[in-house]
């Protein structure tokens, strides 16, 4: 039963991500990406990683994609025009490389993976009965990974500041005669804070 679900979600996932890169209109690509993220979250749930699944939905689908959509809308991009011979060459090469990578990945995974148990260990009874996955992850997060946890918060802070500074736009060196404090050439786009963490 689970395998059927898994196959279904995997199929959705692959198709939607293919469409993401194939579709001309970035907006539709973005939406397909949301679909891909959700199917991925589903797969996480199948793997008993509930916390990650939910966080995936909230962070990726919720925050990041919203940001994407906002920017796409903001820049109101039209259709991507994909033409020109160099581009064709690049696309051909791109696909070729993609295929080669997939083949290599497949060979590596099927051929060479450590002989370990092909199927995941059956869940021990205790593990299944243990408190919820989120609690365990939380415990782990605040015990062994406390330090990296704090660092991620700093990363986010840095990213925020970075985004604000960049998005404020290049304050062209004001021409000598223009008074210093004149409004920047381009209107500063209000920047919505990046998706906060879970």
């Amino acid at each position: 039963m689970i395998t059927v679900l898994f196959v279904a979600f995997a199929a959705i996932l692959v198709v939607s991500s293919l469409l993401v890169i194939l579709h001309r209109n970035p907006l539709t690509s973005a939406l397909f990406l949301v679909l891909a993220f959700c199917s991925l979250a589903a797969i996480y749930l199948l793997l008993h990683a509930e916390f990650i699944g939910l966080v995936q939905v909230v962070v990726y689908a919720g925050a990041i994609m919203v940001l994407f959509l906002f920017v796409i809308m903001y820049l109101n991009l039209g259709h991507d025009v994909e033409s020109g011979v160099t581009l064709a060459l690049r696309r051909g090469l791109g696909w070729l490389l993609g295929a080669v990578l997939v083949a290599e990945g497949a060979l590596l995974i099927t051929g060479r993976l450590a002989p370990g148990p092909a199927t995941p260990q059956a869940l021990t009874a205790a593990a299944a009965a243990a408190p919820g996955n989120t609690q365990q992850v939380g415990l782990l997060l605040y015990s062994r990974y406390l330090f990296p946890f704090e660092i991620t918060s700093i990363i986010l802070l840095v990213a925020m500041i970075g985004a604000i500074v960049i998005a404020r736009g290049l304050r062209e060196p004001a021409p000598a005669e223009a008074p210093a404090g004149s409004a920047p050439v381009t209107a500063a786009a209000p920047e919505e804070a990046p998706g906060e963490d879970a």
């Binding site: 993401v20 970035p26 920017v71 791109g94 992850v137 782990l140 970075g162 960049i166």
Partner: protein
């Protein structure tokens, strides 16, 4: 139960789609999305192994990957917005200031 190799295969396919996206598309934002795909592929592999080895470290890592992804998107999009403001274009192959 879902065999590990399938999961890894799926993540490999997902990753390759991301790579192709980066290589093929001209639009910076779509490239960005493809990068997100690649990140998620790795998350999938993490979770797969976490499940397989029955240790939660994998999931914690996925958590960290996500925060980094979020930060990256924020900064990336800010750059793209700025780029658009300066060059009126988002197409990557029209921006070659760093030509050797």
């Amino acid at each position: 139960m879902i065999p590990l190799s399938w999961l890894l295969l799926l993540s490999a396919v997902l990753f390759c789609i991301g790579v192709v996206g980066v290589l093929v598309r001209r639009n910076a934002i779509v490239i960005f999305m493809s990068i997100e795909l690649m990140l998620n592929a790795s998350n999938l592999a993490f979770v797969a192994f976490s499940r397989h080895l029955n240790s939660l470290d994998g999931q914690v890592f996925v958590f960290f990957v996500m925060t980094v992804a979020a930060a990256e998107v924020a900064v990336g999009l800010a750059i793209i917005v700025n780029l658009f403001r300066l060059r009126e274009t988002v197409f990557v192959d029209e921006i070659n200031l760093l030509k050797g």
